[in-house]
Symmetry: C2
Subunit: 225 residues, 2 copies
Protein backbone atom coordinates (compact mmCIF):
# COMPACT_ATOMS: atom_id res chain seq x y z
CA UNK A 1 0.00 0.00 0.00
CA UNK A 2 1.99 2.99 -1.22
CA UNK A 3 2.16 6.00 0.99
CA UNK A 4 0.95 9.12 -0.73
CA UNK A 5 1.95 12.68 -0.36
CA UNK A 6 -1.17 14.77 -0.35
CA UNK A 7 -0.75 17.66 -2.73
CA UNK A 8 -1.93 20.95 -1.39
CA UNK A 9 -4.41 23.10 -3.20
CA UNK A 10 -6.74 24.59 -0.67
CA UNK A 11 -8.71 26.60 -3.17
CA UNK A 12 -11.97 25.22 -4.44
CA UNK A 13 -12.11 27.54 -7.37
CA UNK A 14 -10.79 27.00 -10.80
CA UNK A 15 -7.12 27.82 -10.78
CA UNK A 16 -7.13 30.16 -13.72
CA UNK A 17 -10.29 31.88 -12.66
CA UNK A 18 -11.94 30.72 -15.85
CA UNK A 19 -15.51 29.77 -15.37
CA UNK A 20 -15.82 26.03 -15.15
CA UNK A 21 -18.01 24.46 -17.75
CA UNK A 22 -21.44 23.11 -17.17
CA UNK A 23 -20.59 19.70 -18.54
CA UNK A 24 -17.64 19.42 -16.22
CA UNK A 25 -19.75 20.23 -13.19
CA UNK A 26 -22.18 17.52 -14.17
CA UNK A 27 -19.42 14.96 -14.22
CA UNK A 28 -18.24 15.73 -10.70
CA UNK A 29 -21.12 13.96 -8.93
CA UNK A 30 -20.42 10.91 -11.08
CA UNK A 31 -16.82 10.82 -9.88
CA UNK A 32 -18.10 11.24 -6.38
CA UNK A 33 -20.44 8.30 -6.67
CA UNK A 34 -17.71 6.05 -8.00
CA UNK A 35 -15.38 7.15 -5.24
CA UNK A 36 -18.01 6.36 -2.63
CA UNK A 37 -18.28 2.86 -4.06
CA UNK A 38 -14.52 2.39 -4.16
CA UNK A 39 -14.06 3.57 -0.60
CA UNK A 40 -16.79 1.20 0.53
CA UNK A 41 -14.74 -1.56 -1.07
CA UNK A 42 -11.61 -0.34 0.71
CA UNK A 43 -9.87 0.73 -2.47
CA UNK A 44 -7.28 3.36 -1.54
CA UNK A 45 -5.76 4.30 -4.87
CA UNK A 46 -7.40 4.65 -8.25
CA UNK A 47 -5.96 5.56 -11.64
CA UNK A 48 -7.67 7.69 -14.24
CA UNK A 49 -7.77 4.59 -16.43
CA UNK A 50 -9.84 2.62 -13.94
CA UNK A 51 -12.02 5.63 -13.24
CA UNK A 52 -12.58 5.73 -16.96
CA UNK A 53 -13.82 2.15 -16.96
CA UNK A 54 -16.20 2.91 -14.13
CA UNK A 55 -17.58 6.19 -15.43
CA UNK A 56 -17.47 5.78 -19.18
CA UNK A 57 -15.59 9.06 -19.59
CA UNK A 58 -12.12 8.92 -21.12
CA UNK A 59 -9.11 8.85 -18.83
CA UNK A 60 -7.80 12.03 -20.46
CA UNK A 61 -10.98 13.86 -19.74
CA UNK A 62 -11.00 12.74 -16.13
CA UNK A 63 -7.45 13.94 -15.60
CA UNK A 64 -8.28 17.22 -17.25
CA UNK A 65 -11.43 17.67 -15.22
CA UNK A 66 -9.66 17.05 -11.95
CA UNK A 67 -6.66 19.17 -12.91
CA UNK A 68 -9.04 22.07 -13.39
CA UNK A 69 -9.28 22.41 -9.64
CA UNK A 70 -5.80 21.42 -8.63
CA UNK A 71 -3.28 18.60 -8.56
CA UNK A 72 -5.05 15.94 -6.57
CA UNK A 73 -3.19 12.86 -7.78
CA UNK A 74 0.27 11.40 -7.51
CA UNK A 75 2.22 10.81 -10.69
CA UNK A 76 3.03 7.22 -11.31
CA UNK A 77 0.45 6.10 -8.78
CA UNK A 78 -2.98 7.58 -9.19
CA UNK A 79 -5.49 9.28 -6.96
CA UNK A 80 -6.10 8.60 -3.29
CA UNK A 81 -9.79 7.83 -3.19
CA UNK A 82 -10.57 9.39 0.19
CA UNK A 83 -8.54 12.47 -0.50
CA UNK A 84 -10.06 12.98 -3.93
CA UNK A 85 -13.52 12.46 -2.54
CA UNK A 86 -12.91 15.11 0.09
CA UNK A 87 -11.72 17.54 -2.55
CA UNK A 88 -14.67 16.88 -4.83
CA UNK A 89 -17.10 17.30 -1.96
CA UNK A 90 -15.62 20.69 -1.26
CA UNK A 91 -15.70 21.72 -4.92
CA UNK A 92 -19.31 20.71 -5.46
CA UNK A 93 -20.42 22.14 -2.15
CA UNK A 94 -21.61 18.76 -0.95
CA UNK A 95 -19.23 18.72 1.99
CA UNK A 96 -21.91 20.34 4.07
CA UNK A 97 -25.26 18.61 4.36
CA UNK A 98 -27.57 20.41 1.95
CA UNK A 99 -31.20 20.87 2.85
CA UNK A 100 -33.75 21.36 0.12
CA UNK A 101 -37.49 21.81 -0.15
CA UNK A 102 -39.80 19.96 -2.51
CA UNK A 103 -42.87 21.70 -3.91
CA UNK A 104 -45.52 19.43 -5.34
CA UNK A 105 -46.45 16.17 -3.65
CA UNK A 106 -48.09 14.44 -6.59
CA UNK A 107 -46.99 10.99 -7.62
CA UNK A 108 -43.79 12.27 -9.16
CA UNK A 109 -42.96 14.55 -6.25
CA UNK A 110 -43.49 11.73 -3.79
CA UNK A 111 -41.36 9.31 -5.76
CA UNK A 112 -38.54 11.79 -6.21
CA UNK A 113 -38.62 12.69 -2.54
CA UNK A 114 -38.44 9.04 -1.56
CA UNK A 115 -35.72 8.45 -4.05
CA UNK A 116 -33.55 11.24 -2.73
CA UNK A 117 -34.09 10.31 0.87
CA UNK A 118 -33.03 6.75 0.14
CA UNK A 119 -30.38 7.20 -2.51
CA UNK A 120 -28.94 10.66 -2.22
CA UNK A 121 -26.63 10.80 0.79
CA UNK A 122 -25.71 14.42 0.21
CA UNK A 123 -29.12 16.01 0.25
CA UNK A 124 -31.63 16.24 3.03
CA UNK A 125 -35.30 16.90 2.35
CA UNK A 126 -36.22 19.63 4.81
CA UNK A 127 -39.85 19.88 3.77
CA UNK A 128 -42.49 19.01 1.20
CA UNK A 129 -45.24 21.41 0.25
CA UNK A 130 -48.42 21.18 -1.74
CA UNK A 131 -51.30 23.50 -2.51
CA UNK A 132 -53.85 20.69 -2.42
CA UNK A 133 -55.41 20.48 1.06
CA UNK A 134 -56.07 16.78 0.52
CA UNK A 135 -52.33 16.16 0.52
CA UNK A 136 -51.81 17.90 3.83
CA UNK A 137 -50.19 15.77 6.50
CA UNK A 138 -49.84 12.76 4.26
CA UNK A 139 -46.40 11.31 4.86
CA UNK A 140 -43.47 10.30 2.72
CA UNK A 141 -41.01 8.23 4.70
CA UNK A 142 -41.93 10.15 7.81
CA UNK A 143 -41.94 13.62 6.29
CA UNK A 144 -45.30 15.35 6.44
CA UNK A 145 -46.61 17.33 3.49
CA UNK A 146 -47.20 20.93 4.55
CA UNK A 147 -49.29 23.79 3.25
CA UNK A 148 -47.70 26.31 0.91
CA UNK A 149 -48.23 29.01 3.53
CA UNK A 150 -45.73 27.32 5.80
CA UNK A 151 -42.97 27.33 3.23
CA UNK A 152 -41.50 30.82 3.66
CA UNK A 153 -40.93 30.30 7.36
CA UNK A 154 -39.14 26.98 6.87
CA UNK A 155 -36.93 28.36 4.11
CA UNK A 156 -35.91 31.27 6.21
CA UNK A 157 -35.38 29.40 9.45
CA UNK A 158 -33.13 26.84 7.81
CA UNK A 159 -31.66 29.21 5.22
CA UNK A 160 -32.53 26.84 2.45
CA UNK A 161 -31.21 27.73 -0.98
CA UNK A 162 -32.27 24.81 -3.18
CA UNK A 163 -35.69 23.64 -4.25
CA UNK A 164 -37.12 20.89 -6.41
CA UNK A 165 -40.47 21.51 -8.03
CA UNK A 166 -42.84 18.90 -9.39
CA UNK A 167 -45.97 20.96 -9.85
CA UNK A 168 -48.20 21.25 -12.93
CA UNK A 169 -46.75 23.43 -15.68
CA UNK A 170 -49.54 25.98 -15.28
CA UNK A 171 -48.52 26.97 -11.78
CA UNK A 172 -44.77 26.37 -12.06
CA UNK A 173 -43.90 30.01 -12.74
CA UNK A 174 -45.89 31.23 -9.77
CA UNK A 175 -44.14 28.72 -7.55
CA UNK A 176 -40.75 29.81 -8.85
CA UNK A 177 -41.59 33.43 -8.16
CA UNK A 178 -42.60 32.56 -4.63
CA UNK A 179 -39.47 30.51 -4.02
CA UNK A 180 -37.18 33.21 -5.37
CA UNK A 181 -38.95 35.82 -3.30
CA UNK A 182 -38.10 33.79 -0.24
CA UNK A 183 -34.43 33.42 -1.03
CA UNK A 184 -34.13 30.22 -3.06
CA UNK A 185 -31.24 30.47 -5.51
CA UNK A 186 -31.28 27.13 -7.32
CA UNK A 187 -34.25 25.19 -8.62
CA UNK A 188 -34.58 21.77 -10.17
CA UNK A 189 -37.67 21.92 -12.33
CA UNK A 190 -39.58 18.85 -13.46
CA UNK A 191 -42.47 20.75 -14.99
CA UNK A 192 -42.37 20.70 -18.79
CA UNK A 193 -42.22 24.45 -19.21
CA UNK A 194 -39.71 27.24 -19.55
CA UNK A 195 -39.33 29.18 -16.34
CA UNK A 196 -38.09 32.69 -15.75
CA UNK A 197 -36.02 33.78 -12.82
CA UNK A 198 -33.86 36.80 -12.04
CA UNK A 199 -30.14 36.63 -12.75
CA UNK A 200 -28.34 34.78 -10.03
CA UNK A 201 -31.05 32.19 -9.67
CA UNK A 202 -30.18 28.94 -11.38
CA UNK A 203 -32.85 26.78 -12.91
CA UNK A 204 -32.12 23.29 -14.15
CA UNK A 205 -34.76 21.62 -16.20
CA UNK A 206 -35.24 17.89 -15.88
CA UNK A 207 -38.01 17.32 -18.33
CA UNK A 208 -38.58 13.60 -18.30
CA UNK A 209 -40.71 13.45 -21.44
CA UNK A 210 -37.90 15.11 -23.36
CA UNK A 211 -35.39 12.52 -22.24
CA UNK A 212 -37.58 9.81 -23.58
CA UNK A 213 -38.54 11.61 -26.76
CA UNK A 214 -35.00 12.44 -27.74
CA UNK A 215 -34.07 8.84 -27.13
CA UNK A 216 -36.58 7.76 -29.77
CA UNK A 217 -34.48 9.53 -32.35
CA UNK A 218 -31.62 7.18 -31.61
CA UNK A 219 -33.79 4.09 -31.61
CA UNK A 220 -34.55 4.49 -35.28
CA UNK A 221 -32.52 2.44 -37.66
CA UNK A 222 -30.45 4.91 -39.59
CA UNK A 223 -28.16 3.94 -42.39
CA UNK A 224 -24.76 5.33 -41.47
CA UNK A 225 -22.86 7.16 -44.12
Amino acid sequence: MPQQKKPQNPSVKDKKGTKTSKSLIKRLPVYLRILDNLIRRDVDIISSRVLSDETGFTAEQIRKDLATFGAFGTRGTGYNTSYLREKLLKITGLDKQIRIVVVGSGHLGKALTRYNILKNPYVEIAGIFDANPAELNTEILGIKVQAMEDMPRLIEEQSIKVAMITVPAEVAQAVVDLLVENGISAILNFAPTKLRAPAGVHIHNADLTIELQSLIYYSLEREKE
Copy 2:
Protein backbone atom coordinates in the same frame (compact mmCIF):
# COMPACT_ATOMS: atom_id res chain seq x y z
CA MET B 1 -53.24 35.49 -42.32
CA PRO B 2 -50.49 35.19 -44.93
CA GLN B 3 -50.56 32.19 -47.16
CA GLN B 4 -47.39 30.21 -47.03
CA LYS B 5 -45.59 28.23 -49.62
CA LYS B 6 -44.44 25.01 -48.07
CA PRO B 7 -40.80 24.46 -48.88
CA GLN B 8 -39.93 20.97 -49.93
CA ASN B 9 -37.28 18.92 -48.26
CA PRO B 10 -38.53 15.41 -47.93
CA SER B 11 -35.39 14.05 -46.34
CA VAL B 12 -35.31 13.59 -42.61
CA LYS B 13 -31.57 13.35 -42.52
CA ASP B 14 -29.08 16.10 -42.04
CA LYS B 15 -28.49 17.72 -45.39
CA LYS B 16 -24.73 17.51 -45.36
CA GLY B 17 -24.69 13.99 -43.99
CA THR B 18 -22.84 15.26 -40.94
CA LYS B 19 -23.92 13.55 -37.79
CA THR B 20 -26.36 15.73 -35.93
CA SER B 21 -25.26 16.68 -32.47
CA LYS B 22 -26.68 15.28 -29.30
CA SER B 23 -27.55 18.68 -27.92
CA LEU B 24 -29.48 19.57 -31.04
CA ILE B 25 -31.53 16.39 -30.84
CA LYS B 26 -32.40 17.19 -27.25
CA ARG B 27 -33.78 20.53 -28.29
CA LEU B 28 -36.12 19.11 -30.89
CA PRO B 29 -38.69 17.77 -28.41
CA VAL B 30 -38.72 21.20 -26.78
CA TYR B 31 -39.61 22.83 -30.08
CA LEU B 32 -42.24 20.20 -30.53
CA ARG B 33 -43.83 20.89 -27.16
CA ILE B 34 -43.97 24.61 -27.85
CA LEU B 35 -45.48 24.00 -31.26
CA ASP B 36 -48.15 21.77 -29.74
CA ASN B 37 -49.05 24.59 -27.37
CA LEU B 38 -49.12 27.17 -30.16
CA ILE B 39 -51.28 25.03 -32.39
CA ARG B 40 -53.67 24.46 -29.49
CA ARG B 41 -53.91 28.25 -29.27
CA ASP B 42 -54.53 28.47 -33.03
CA VAL B 43 -51.28 30.25 -33.76
CA ASP B 44 -50.40 29.62 -37.39
CA ILE B 45 -47.11 31.41 -37.83
CA ILE B 46 -44.23 31.74 -35.42
CA SER B 47 -40.91 33.53 -35.71
CA SER B 48 -37.61 32.29 -34.36
CA ARG B 49 -37.66 35.27 -32.02
CA VAL B 50 -40.90 34.23 -30.37
CA LEU B 51 -39.77 30.63 -30.28
CA SER B 52 -36.73 31.93 -28.50
CA ASP B 53 -38.88 33.56 -25.84
CA GLU B 54 -40.80 30.36 -25.33
CA THR B 55 -37.89 27.99 -25.25
CA GLY B 56 -35.09 30.03 -23.77
CA PHE B 57 -32.77 29.14 -26.66
CA THR B 58 -31.50 31.99 -28.82
CA ALA B 59 -33.27 32.77 -32.07
CA GLU B 60 -30.03 32.17 -33.98
CA GLN B 61 -29.66 28.75 -32.51
CA ILE B 62 -33.22 27.85 -33.32
CA ARG B 63 -32.84 28.92 -36.94
CA LYS B 64 -29.60 27.00 -37.20
CA ASP B 65 -31.10 23.91 -35.60
CA LEU B 66 -34.03 23.87 -37.96
CA ALA B 67 -31.92 24.68 -41.00
CA THR B 68 -29.90 21.55 -40.25
CA PHE B 69 -32.73 19.49 -41.59
CA GLY B 70 -34.04 21.73 -44.33
CA ALA B 71 -35.63 25.08 -45.08
CA PHE B 72 -38.86 24.88 -43.17
CA GLY B 73 -39.63 28.56 -42.81
CA THR B 74 -40.59 31.45 -45.04
CA ARG B 75 -38.25 34.42 -45.17
CA GLY B 76 -39.81 37.57 -43.90
CA THR B 77 -42.61 35.66 -42.23
CA GLY B 78 -41.58 32.83 -39.99
CA TYR B 79 -42.49 29.21 -39.58
CA ASN B 80 -45.87 27.64 -40.14
CA THR B 81 -46.54 25.91 -36.85
CA SER B 82 -48.36 22.86 -38.18
CA TYR B 83 -45.93 22.35 -40.99
CA LEU B 84 -42.91 22.68 -38.73
CA ARG B 85 -44.47 20.33 -36.22
CA GLU B 86 -45.01 17.73 -38.90
CA LYS B 87 -41.41 18.03 -40.01
CA LEU B 88 -40.07 17.77 -36.49
CA LEU B 89 -42.21 14.75 -35.77
CA LYS B 90 -40.73 13.05 -38.78
CA ILE B 91 -37.18 13.99 -37.84
CA THR B 92 -37.47 12.79 -34.27
CA GLY B 93 -39.33 9.66 -35.26
CA LEU B 94 -42.32 10.65 -33.16
CA ASP B 95 -44.65 10.72 -36.16
CA LYS B 96 -45.45 7.10 -35.50
CA GLN B 97 -46.79 6.15 -32.09
CA ILE B 98 -43.86 4.70 -30.18
CA ARG B 99 -44.40 1.84 -27.77
CA ILE B 100 -41.97 1.27 -24.94
CA VAL B 101 -41.58 -1.08 -22.01
CA VAL B 102 -40.81 -0.13 -18.44
CA VAL B 103 -38.75 -2.43 -16.26
CA GLY B 104 -38.99 -1.84 -12.53
CA SER B 105 -42.29 -1.00 -10.90
CA GLY B 106 -40.98 0.55 -7.71
CA HIS B 107 -42.15 3.97 -6.61
CA LEU B 108 -40.08 5.72 -9.24
CA GLY B 109 -41.06 3.33 -12.01
CA LYS B 110 -44.73 3.75 -11.17
CA ALA B 111 -44.49 7.52 -11.06
CA LEU B 112 -42.61 7.75 -14.33
CA THR B 113 -45.03 5.41 -16.02
CA ARG B 114 -47.98 7.46 -14.82
CA TYR B 115 -46.26 10.62 -15.86
CA ASN B 116 -45.62 9.43 -19.38
CA ILE B 117 -49.10 8.07 -19.80
CA LEU B 118 -50.57 11.40 -18.76
CA LYS B 119 -48.08 13.88 -20.15
CA ASN B 120 -46.25 12.29 -23.02
CA PRO B 121 -48.52 12.16 -26.05
CA TYR B 122 -45.91 10.57 -28.26
CA VAL B 123 -45.09 7.50 -26.25
CA GLU B 124 -47.27 4.58 -25.33
CA ILE B 125 -46.42 2.30 -22.42
CA ALA B 126 -46.83 -1.19 -23.84
CA GLY B 127 -45.94 -3.01 -20.65
CA ILE B 128 -44.44 -2.79 -17.17
CA PHE B 129 -42.32 -5.56 -15.72
CA ASP B 130 -40.94 -6.37 -12.32
CA ALA B 131 -39.03 -9.25 -10.80
CA ASN B 132 -40.82 -8.92 -7.47
CA PRO B 133 -43.80 -11.30 -7.36
CA ALA B 134 -45.55 -8.98 -4.91
CA GLU B 135 -45.82 -6.38 -7.64
CA LEU B 136 -47.46 -8.77 -10.05
CA ASN B 137 -50.82 -7.64 -11.35
CA THR B 138 -50.77 -4.39 -9.43
CA GLU B 139 -52.02 -1.69 -11.75
CA ILE B 140 -50.82 1.71 -12.89
CA LEU B 141 -53.58 3.59 -14.64
CA GLY B 142 -54.98 0.33 -15.90
CA ILE B 143 -51.71 -1.26 -16.97
CA LYS B 144 -50.91 -4.45 -15.10
CA VAL B 145 -47.39 -5.19 -13.89
CA GLN B 146 -46.15 -8.39 -15.48
CA ALA B 147 -43.46 -10.91 -14.64
CA MET B 148 -40.06 -10.57 -16.25
CA GLU B 149 -40.59 -13.89 -18.00
CA ASP B 150 -43.36 -12.34 -20.06
CA MET B 151 -41.22 -9.52 -21.37
CA PRO B 152 -39.48 -11.17 -24.34
CA ARG B 153 -42.75 -12.21 -25.89
CA LEU B 154 -44.25 -8.74 -25.63
CA ILE B 155 -41.16 -7.08 -27.05
CA GLU B 156 -41.12 -9.39 -29.99
CA GLU B 157 -44.83 -9.35 -30.72
CA GLN B 158 -44.96 -5.57 -30.77
CA SER B 159 -41.41 -5.08 -32.11
CA ILE B 160 -40.60 -2.71 -29.30
CA LYS B 161 -37.27 -0.95 -29.53
CA VAL B 162 -37.23 1.39 -26.54
CA ALA B 163 -37.13 0.65 -22.82
CA MET B 164 -37.05 2.64 -19.63
CA ILE B 165 -35.46 1.01 -16.61
CA THR B 166 -35.97 1.97 -12.99
CA VAL B 167 -34.46 -1.02 -11.25
CA PRO B 168 -31.85 -1.11 -8.47
CA ALA B 169 -28.32 -0.42 -9.67
CA GLU B 170 -27.20 -3.93 -8.74
CA VAL B 171 -29.44 -5.61 -11.29
CA ALA B 172 -29.48 -2.89 -13.94
CA GLN B 173 -26.76 -4.44 -16.07
CA ALA B 174 -28.49 -7.81 -16.10
CA VAL B 175 -31.71 -6.14 -17.16
CA VAL B 176 -29.94 -4.28 -19.94
CA ASP B 177 -28.38 -7.49 -21.19
CA LEU B 178 -31.77 -9.15 -21.24
CA LEU B 179 -33.38 -6.23 -23.04
CA VAL B 180 -30.65 -6.06 -25.66
CA GLU B 181 -30.84 -9.79 -26.18
CA ASN B 182 -34.50 -9.35 -27.04
CA GLY B 183 -33.96 -6.58 -29.53
CA ILE B 184 -34.20 -3.34 -27.57
CA SER B 185 -31.99 -0.67 -29.13
CA ALA B 186 -32.51 2.36 -26.90
CA ILE B 187 -32.66 2.50 -23.13
CA LEU B 188 -33.43 5.29 -20.72
CA ASN B 189 -31.67 4.38 -17.50
CA PHE B 190 -32.63 5.80 -14.12
CA ALA B 191 -30.33 3.54 -12.12
CA PRO B 192 -27.29 5.40 -10.81
CA THR B 193 -24.74 3.21 -12.51
CA LYS B 194 -22.73 2.97 -15.71
CA LEU B 195 -24.20 0.44 -18.08
CA ARG B 196 -22.59 -1.41 -20.92
CA ALA B 197 -24.26 -2.30 -24.17
CA PRO B 198 -23.07 -3.39 -27.59
CA ALA B 199 -22.50 -0.77 -30.27
CA GLY B 200 -25.74 0.28 -31.83
CA VAL B 201 -27.63 0.20 -28.58
CA HIS B 202 -28.14 3.67 -27.16
CA ILE B 203 -28.24 4.23 -23.44
CA HIS B 204 -29.26 7.56 -21.96
CA ASN B 205 -28.65 8.07 -18.31
CA ALA B 206 -31.11 10.11 -16.32
CA ASP B 207 -29.52 10.00 -12.92
CA LEU B 208 -31.75 12.13 -10.75
CA THR B 209 -29.36 12.43 -7.83
CA ILE B 210 -26.76 13.86 -10.18
CA GLU B 211 -29.12 16.54 -11.42
CA LEU B 212 -29.70 17.66 -7.89
CA GLN B 213 -26.09 17.37 -6.80
CA SER B 214 -24.71 19.37 -9.69
CA LEU B 215 -27.30 22.02 -9.00
CA ILE B 216 -25.89 22.47 -5.50
CA TYR B 217 -22.68 23.73 -7.07
CA TYR B 218 -24.60 26.63 -8.57
CA SER B 219 -26.49 27.40 -5.39
CA LEU B 220 -23.30 28.39 -3.60
CA GLU B 221 -22.54 32.04 -3.44
CA ARG B 222 -19.49 32.51 -5.56
CA GLU B 223 -17.75 35.81 -5.90
CA LYS B 224 -17.55 36.47 -9.63
CA GLU B 225 -14.24 37.65 -11.00
